[in-house]
């Protein structure tokens, strides 16, 4: 997080300003709406929960509240990596429920205007389900994949979660 906030020129004609939290996952950069992110924490002790999909790492105690932890890498079928000093849990609000997502590193908060978001090309990165990609942000040096949290879990997955 040592990088300063990258200021981006905003042209009023280019639509409203959106703030994103960007994070890294297997060489790629992703972004989610800053309003969805509640906090970013280091890896605590995770309690495994049996009989859940493999990407559910378990649950943690977030100041007295028990929340599920999802491994983004496993969710997107990326190669697994050891947790290191950069590993973070992003606690996010997914349809009213708090959930923690393990990411490789959280880099910064960036501002973009809505018009910079382009529809995602047919094939983006490897295993990510197309549904949860809201678009791609193409800036001079970087390519950012914008995630739509509500679409993170397919209908079947939700069914598993909320009652088989």
């Amino acid at each position: 997080m040592q990088d300063a906030l990258v200021p981006i020129k905003v042209d009023a004609a280019h639509g409203e300003l959106i703030q994103l939290v960007s994070f890294n996952l297997d060489q790629e950069e992703y972004g989610v709406d800053v309003l969805k992110v509640r906090e970013i924490i280091r890896m605590p002790i995770v309690t495994r929960v049996p009989n859940t999909p493999n990407y559910v790492e378990g649950v943690i105690n977030l100041r007295g509240k028990v929340i599920p932890i999802i491994s983004m890498r496993k969710k997107f079928s990326l190669t697994e990596a050891e947790n290191d000093k950069q590993t973070r849990i992003m606690v996010m609000d997914v349809e009213g429920e708090l959930m923690g997502f393990i990411v490789d590193a959280v880099s910064e908060v960036i501002r973009i205007s809505g018009s910079e978001i382009q529809p995602s090309p047919a094939v983006v990165s490897g295993g990510i389900d197309q549904e949860c990609i809201a678009g791609v942000i193409n800036q001079a040096e970087r390519l950012l994949v914008l995630l739509k949290l509500e679409m993170m879990f397919s209908r079947d997955e939700k069914k598993f979660f909320t009652g088989m």
Partner: protein, 604 residues
């Protein structure tokens, strides 16, 4: 349909809370009155209750309600003045009228004023007013003799405690906004249509009246709570101070450790006090459920032509409201069962050499952190042979299975869904649903049910329920390095055994425990825990029970017993088989709570 124009939601809520409370009490009082009709104080109280209801509803413009309440009040007034004598017939009518009032109040609560047939009930009340016509002409509502009560009644809805209404608000549907609303021609709409008659007391509608979304808390308890919180704040300040000292390097002071130790002790003291207080506030006497039973028993005994003496003990026993809300239904079913199947008719009883009047004892008592409720009758008892035969007839089990059954297992047959010894379903029983409901609900509460019965002597149903569902005593166990928590209320015993003593029966591991064959579940397998230790022959078996079933959970090690607060796993992980929830241990780690009930069911 006439619309209710109720501008003031708060007023309406106050009215509902008040009326509901009064009605609950009324039933009980009426039954008592039948037994001791000379009790003037009681008589007056009943009169006042119905008068208050009448006053408040007329204030709010619920005309149907006023009409019924008014006539009932008139009859009660005559009883009060001793112009009439309390007879079962009068009581029947008054009770019917009370039921109708309940139904109407339930309608208001649901936000839908329905057209109800009130004429029938009112017509039944009228004869008691017209005999000795001279005195009987009821005065108009305003001119009622008890003027002070009348004023009190109209005023009552307003001073609703804020606590109550605010907490009720979210749960009350946007009812009044969309309520179909009263018309100028209110009283005229009692067309003699075919409309559901007043409900039987046992109908669910009446039960819905008791609302559990609001709590009335004794002000004293609230003050105590405030005191405790005040102390907690002081201790917190002290802690901040100590932390500052520590930062500044004062930690080497000789008395620092002692200071800190003291603080910890005080903190833990205040916290447990606080926990007790809050728990107490959630506690309500089981009376809330029990008090509707005299009424049910009375009407059933009249319907069935049986004579019953209902004795209630321990109604002051307190338990958590979450539990109280859940045990109403099972208890009603058990009482119906006892009345219908257990107790014999007076003639049969005489023939069997018993007294004409059957006894039904309903008792509640605390035992440790459990509450034990027993329903005992001195009727004919469970005829296991007949039960077994019926079960085979209904295809619920085979002859061979039956032959292999113990007495105990035979008793348990009555809990099977669809089981009934009745040839024909009646209003009261015979559909084979009731006892299944009992079992399901008790299981849901993590409770156990036990049956004692002797042919010809009567039967007893014993329910063991946890006092609360929010904080539980639990047994911490370790499974290959992972710690799980098992609700102590389901744990019957723990045994240290050699795994070589396990047997296999039809692919199921079992353990011979005294005279019982105990099916086993390895938590390591169901929870897919990676084996971490060298295989050790010695392990522990935690015997758990749910309702009438027993089962052994195989674990590596027992860790200890701890009181834990249940935390939900959230919507996303709400339905993991075998897991009931989670809790946070002293070290901040999350531990999962095993759901023995679900596990036993899953294994069936």
């Amino acid at each position: 349909m006439p619309p209710i124009d109720c501008e003031d939601q708060e007023l309406l809520e106050g009215f509902l809370a008040e009326t509901t409370e009064l009605l609950e009490k009324l039933d009980d009082d009426l039954i008592t009155l039948e037994k001791s009709s000379d009790d003037t104080e009681l008589m007056n109280r009943i009169f006042r209750s119905i008068h208050t209801i009448k006053g408040a509803s007329s204030f709010l413009g619920f005309d149907l309600l006023v009409k019924v309440a008014h006539k009932t009040e008139d009859v009660l007034n005559r009883l009060r003045k001793r112009e009439l004598v309390v007879t079962p017939e009068i009581m029947d009518v008054i009770l019917e009228a009370t039921d109708l009032v309940k139904l109407l109040v339930a309608d208001i609560k649901a936000g839908e004023i329905q057209e109800r047939e009130t004429e029938g009930t009112i017509a039944k009340l009228l004869p008691f007013l017209t005999e000795n016509a001279g005195v009987a002409q009821p005065p108009a509502a305003g001119a009622t003799p008890t003027e002070p009560v009348a004023t009190a009644a109209t005023e009552q809805p307003q001073p609703t405690p804020v606590v109550e209404t605010s907490s009720a608000a979210p749960s009350t549907p946007p009812a009044t906004a969309s309520v179909p609303v009263p018309a100028p021609q209110p009283a005229a709409n009692v067309a003699p249509k075919k409309i559901p008659a007043p409900p039987k007391p046992s109908d669910a509608k009446g039960d819905d009246l008791s609302d559990s979304s609001t709590v009335r808390v004794d002000v004293k308890r609230l003050d105590d709570l405030m005191n405790q919180v005040g102390e907690l704040v002081l201790e917190r300040n002290r802690m901040i101070q100590i932390n500052q000292d520590l930062q500044q390097g004062d930690a080497n002071r000789p008395d620092f450790q002692e200071e800190f130790g003291k603080l910890t002790k005080r903190m833990s003291f205040v916290t447990s006090e606080l926990q007790m207080q809050v728990l107490k506030m959630r506690m309500i006497p089981v009376e809330k459920v029990f008090k509707k039973f005299p009424r049910i028993v009375r009407s059933m005994s009249r319907d069935l032509g049986k004579e019953v003496d209902l004795q209630i003990f321990g109604e002051e026993t307190e338990l958590d409201r979450s539990v109280v809300d859940e045990i109403g239904d099972p208890l009603i079913h058990l009482i119906r069962n006892a009345m219908d199947h257990g107790l014999e008719s007076p003639d049969e009883r005489m023939a069997a050499g018993k007294s004409r009047v059957g006894t039904l004892v309903l008792a509640a008592v605390h035992e440790g952190n459990q509450i034990i409720i027993s329903i005992k009758d001195d009727g004919r008892g469970i005829d296991t042979e007949r039960v077994g035969r019926k079960a085979v007839e209904k295809g619920l089990l085979s002859e061979d299975q039956l032959a292999a059954m113990s007495q105990r297992e035979m008793f348990d047959l009555i809990f099977l869904p669809g089981f009934s010894t009745k040839e024909k379903a009646t209003d009261l029983s015979g559909r084979g649903v009731g006892m299944d409901v009992v079992k399901t609900n008790i299981k849901k509460l993590n409770g156990l049910i036990e049956i004692k019965s002797e042919k010809g002597q009567g039967s007893e149903f014993i329910l063991r329920l946890p006092l609360t569902l929010a904080i539980i005593q639990s047994l911490l166990v370790e499974v290959e390095g992972e710690v799980y928590s098992i609700p102590l209320s389901s744990v019957l015993e723990t045994i240290r055994v050699d795994q070589r003593k396990f047997h296999m029966i039809g692919g199921q591991e079992v353990l011979k425990l005294r005279d019982m064959v105990l099916p086993l579940i390895r938590l390591q397998k169901v929870f897919n825990v990676q084996q971490r230790y060298e295989r050790d022959d010695i392990c522990y078996v935690v015997v758990v029970g749910a309702a009438d079933k027993r089962m052994g959970l195989v674990v590596t090690r027992l860790v200890g017993q701890q009181e834990v607060a249940i935390k939900s796993l959230g919507n996303y992980l709400a339905n993991i088989p075998g897991i009931a929830g989670s809790t946070i241990l002293g070290d901040g780690r999350v531990t999962l709570i095993v759901d023995p009930v679900g596990m036993i069911e899953g294994n069936e």
